[in-house]
Symmetry: C2
Subunit: 170 residues, 2 copies
């Protein structure tokens, strides 16, 4: 079994850092192959820009990020950092997202990973989305820490923004 | 009346670009002073890192972004791009966020604006949050475009992640 941990914390000594390390150790012990995308250490680019397409644009007159990345995905024209991350996702049976909650959601660096890596053509293709999405046989697990006490948050470990993700939690 | 438009689209000719331009023109005509933070044009940094604190850290042994930016805000030690944006927010009576929906939420570049600009001490200070937050007398308006038809989204112009923001919609 292959696991990809997408990890977003600046400090290895943090609780998030510990949770990531424990996950790597425990999963490896169980025989899994674990890959970590340490977004801050990679200085992962969160901004969705024209730089994500390495060759010519489909429509250079009016830039549409969704259309351009979709077209670039199909012809293999996405930037290397995206291709690398997509390979890791493709290889993985389980994805773990480890992050602290910022403004009731994931930090921008991880939101940028979602925006840029999970492009149309790779993660979904109408009408193949949600339960019939292209990554439907993968599991995803969100592990995050909060700045508040348990009472300050509603029960359940997954917040509103997050449960809409592609992969059914099955 | 002063208005700040926080705008996140790569293409001036896009629908988001047009909506921003129309807002600037119409509000100016009505006598408002309008400022635009054009995040992609500014190449706004979305990543929350140690670089946001220009001087020494409060605790250099273990980096905690929330604590460090809170402390830095109090002593005036935040980076210039954050201080500039906080000034714009402080000056504004109305904030307008203009963006396309990416993965059921705002694009990472705008999430980074939230994460980095709205730090503790500036936007909120326990127990002053939500209706008693430090920016409570400001109005905020979210204007966004979607890739799907009206039927694909629930009614109402504000999505789950967004309505939790500090400023009451009053």
């Amino acid at each position: 079994r292959k696991v990809l941990i997408v990890y977003a914390h600046q400090e290895p000594k943090s609780l998030n850092g510990s949770l990531k390390t424990v996950a790597v150790e425990e999963l490896s012990k169980q025989g899994c192959t674990v890959t970590v995308s340490d977004l801050y250490a990679m200085q992962f680019e969160p901004r969705a820009t024209r730089n994500d397409i390495v060759d010519c644009l489909h429509n250079s007159d009016e830039f549409n990020y969704g259309v351009e990345t979709w077209e670039a995905y199909k012809r293999g024209g996405l930037s290397n950092d995206l291709i690398e991350e997509q390979k890791k996702v493709q290889d993985a049976d389980l994805l773990i997202f480890q992050f602290p909650l910022y403004w009731f959601s994931m930090p921008a660096i991880m939101k940028g990973w979602m925006d840029r890596v999970l492009v149309q053509g790779f993660a979904h293709e109408f009408p193949n989305c949600y339960d019939s999405g292209l990554l439907k046989n993968k599991l995803a697990l969100f592990s995050f820490t909060t700045g508040g006490s348990k009472e300050m948050y509603a029960k359940g470990g997954i917040n509103g923004d997050i449960r809409y993700l592609l992969w059914p939690m099955q």
